[in-house]
């Protein structure tokens, strides 16, 4: 047998659609391979698990060179919404679920979902502000204990 990965801990630190999906795909893919996984949402990544925001995650249409849209055009009113619904349709065609459903699915797969204590303090968030799938708000030290013995992936 070649080397194998037994456990991953994935940090999501960004709040844009393209900042959140990669971590979700990696966590879900880990569980699908029988790899233990947990997710830690920090800074603007908390939007992905915030009751108020998780259904309204948008693509960054400004300051995003990969999108190949001129900054002036990307900044027009309605552009983030337009680009987001365009990408969401494409994702759905590939059987990639919307963010709220995806996180529910990852939690159901047995992965741990955690919020970052420092970020929650910064934004004035409590566990009630976060979706039910979040098991706890934890400190960085607790995160390292949880991640011990596995790989840490920062996104």
């Amino acid at each position: 047998m070649t080397a194998s990965i037994e456990k991953v801990s994935i940090i999501v630190s960004k709040g844009s659609l393209e900042g959140i999906y990669p971590g979700l795909i990696m966590a879900n893919g880990a569980r699908a391979e029988g790899i233990e996984a947990s997710m830690f949402f920090t800074f603007f990544g908390l939007d992905a698990v915030s009751r108020k925001r998780h259904e309204h995650i948008k693509v960054a249409t400004v300051g995003n060179p990969g999108l190949h849209v001129a900054t002036l055009i990307g900044s027009l009113p309605g552009m983030p919404g337009l680009m987001t619904s365009y990408l969401e349709r494409k994702l759905e065609k590939l059987d990639i679920p919307p963010i709220p459903e995806f996180i529910e699915m990852i939690a159901d797969s047995g992965a741990g979902i955690y919020g970052c204590q420092a970020s929650c303090d910064l934004f004035g968030l409590t566990k009630d502000d976060l979706i039910d799938q979040v098991q706890a708000i934890i400190t960085v030290g607790e995160f390292y204990s949880l991640a011990a013995g596995g790989q840490i992936i920062f996104t």
Binding site: N28, R31, A32, E33, G34, D95, M105, D108, S109, G110
Partner: protein, 105 residues
Amino acid sequence: MPTVTYAGHDVIVNDEGFFTDPSRWREEMAPEIAKAAGIDELTPRHWQVITFMRDQYRVKGTGPTVRVLGKTSGVGVKELYQLFPRGPAKTAARIAGIPKPRGCI
């Protein structure tokens, strides 16, 4: 590629244990493949998923993803992972004698 014997029949599998020829699969092989994949006993709920995998493979030429399984097999995502802790789509495909589903979801 290795040859293994399930229920008295020789079959060729790839390095990960998936059948190279799904038409060689027989129902009576499933419990032995399951044991090799770490599942000691196949319950009717396991069978519901395995049968669904085979049907989907017949129609679509590939096994379903966990999302599709969770929505349409009658077994939800949580239970799928309880039944197949090492990965539902992957393990069920192996037991059902179909190729490993290839995809990121």
